[in-house]
Point group: none
Chain length 198, copies 4
DNA sequence: AATGAATGAGATTTCATTCAT
DNA sequence: AATGAATGAAATCTCATTCAT
């Protein structure tokens, strides 16, 4: 029975904090180790190198988010008053915004490095954007919204969703972010023309 | 009479290109100088250091964008068929997206570093977000859209606008970006409930 | 009739100020030029290079000090109550301390770089220390003080003289330095055993 | 268990040698490292930067000197023929000059950078000058010397003490410095008017 | 197993000086 | 004649990584 690794979790936490606070490149191994309360060499026991730690963090947290979204969307049930897409959007936004409020670092970290890491992921790697596109396609198929370009509309949904969070982050909107779930949902439904389907 | 500066403009151009292509931190002074065809030290005659060059680039191009938006918005005229806000949004989006298509580097550079530099600007510095907020306030005042939270709705407009560009940038949507002007405008107007004002 | 050089004097003044304030090496040509209100290249019109400027400043001001001391010493007249050496010491100290109070930069500059430049001067170059040694030799010859090692006693005179100034400089003693002329003189005379000659 | 530091001591020794020999600024990190037989980066594991190394050297060696002086002064015993102050001065000068003769680098290093570093020390930091001032105050209190301004007289003692060393350093006086202990002591006692109290 | 030391490569920046206008 | 631009060389420092204990 091997003893559990002692430096792994603190390093991940320190990395999350420092990467978000100071940028991935600006946070050096020395700082990381100090923050985590371990040695600099410890990192190399658990990951190949710094870049691998970054990738691992990204992939793991992205998987969390994906699971969150998938759960929110697949468990959604249409109600008498509301089509499925409406419930799905609300649930998804609610789940994501709760994550933001509870673990802002995770959310911000993903935002922060998605652009840098976009090229490194395998091209068929499924990301939240894909979830949204599929969501829209399904709603069209169910005739809940008029036919439209799914990618284009997905970009709008994602944009509204993200920028609300950004505004809260920079203090342009009051937090917690969760209070804006209904607002965002309503706006999204307007963009999708829910209920206007032929 | 000293000789006229010969390295300044090439350095700015090289910075724009390399910062966008490889990231601000990954592009080193050596590379900048090589691209600009000058010595590394030349940079330090024109800017205090690399960071100052980044800031200068950001501020200058941001001013360009602000001028663009202001011009688009102030020259807009309401038509019989359309309220002023609709024309303003279309003009603004069109102007910005044309910039993106014609000088993608400028647009991408601003996108790229806005988060890093947000904190460095003086807190009362007027940024595009402020333009959008004012735009919405004015539309409310003119009774063209129902009363709403201007900052919240601004975040949505900005989000839709930006994410469309991001999707094009990463190949999720086809370019040129200008072809999406009308789509974005229509979606924005739906979010603002143009014409639904009581 | 050539026009008088315009940058020479300001550069010398700026050099004196900055060299004393920040150290000879820490004050760069750029800073010098800015302080002097001229171009960086101007320095090279008037001196071979930076080092030559330093040397020139040193030599010129040292000559001033030497002239000061020589004048003070040669114009001194013995009185009924006081032997010549006593008057000479008082006059010399008075002259030097007045310089300190009126042009502290000159005094401090000489102190500052004497160690660095000691090696560069021609070995027979006459410096204040030599003046003091000669002063003591003459006093011995005149039988005003008992025979002694002139260099050794000179080191003490110079040490007392300089350290008093240093204490004032660092606020360990109150200024102006001139108020300490009589004290230093009296102490010096005790060290020299004036009046104890056999 | 990491490996024990192997570069720290050699770096300190090299710094002492090179700083004294060529000046703090003229001795570069490369030269330091070469002399110490380690990499340039090693310096930065043990000190924040070059300046911190200089400061550390200064503070450490200054503490040595202070301990030396304190020991010399507190172990001094008055004799029938000599008041306490006389013995204290002789012991202190002897101890300090022995240090000079045995470890000239230490002594010269302190002399060399005292002016640059004076400002950096905390204002209440106790330096040799303070020891001398206290020495004089105590002698006055014991009625061994007439009342006088302790700081003023301290400046003279320190000046005589230091300048003797400086003269030896520059070859104006023969070495070893220790041969001048009695001379300096006698001169100091004359300045202090030992035995003239009352 | 785990540490802090050590390192080579390279980053940014400074400098005194020369150059082109 | 006088300037600010330009520059090569070198300075200081940082970094991710490897090493010896």
């Amino acid at each position: 029975m091997p003893r559990p690794p002692k430096a792994r979790a603190p390093l991940k936490q320190a990395a999350l904090e420092l990467f978000v606070e100071r940028g991935v490149h600006a946070a050096g191994i020395r700082e990381l180790a100090r923050h985590a309360g371990c040695s600099e060499a410890a990192l190399y026991r658990h990951w190949e190198n710094k870049e691998a730690l970054v990738r691992a963090l990204y992939v793991e947290h992205l998987a969390e988010v994906m699971a969150l979204l998938d759960a929110a969307i697949t468990t959604a049930k249409a109600a008498a008053s509301e089509p499925l897409i409406a419930v799905q959007v609300r649930q998804a936004v609610k789940a994501a915004y709760r994550l933001y409020d509870e673990q802002p670092l995770v959310f911000r970290f993903i935002l922060l490095i998605q652009h840098e890491l976009a090229k490194e992921l395998p091209p068929d790697y499924r990301v939240p954007n894909d979830v949204v596109i599929d969501l829209i396609k399904a709603a069209i198929a169910r005739n809940e919204i008029p036919p439209c370009d799914p990618a284009l509309h997905a970009s709008w949904l994602v944009g509204m969703f993200l920028e609300t969070a950004t505004f809260v982050l920079y203090g342009r909107l009051p937090g917690p972010l969760s209070q804006h779930v209904d607002g965002v949902t309503a706006a999204v439904l307007r963009v999708l023309r829910v209920g206007e389907a032929r």
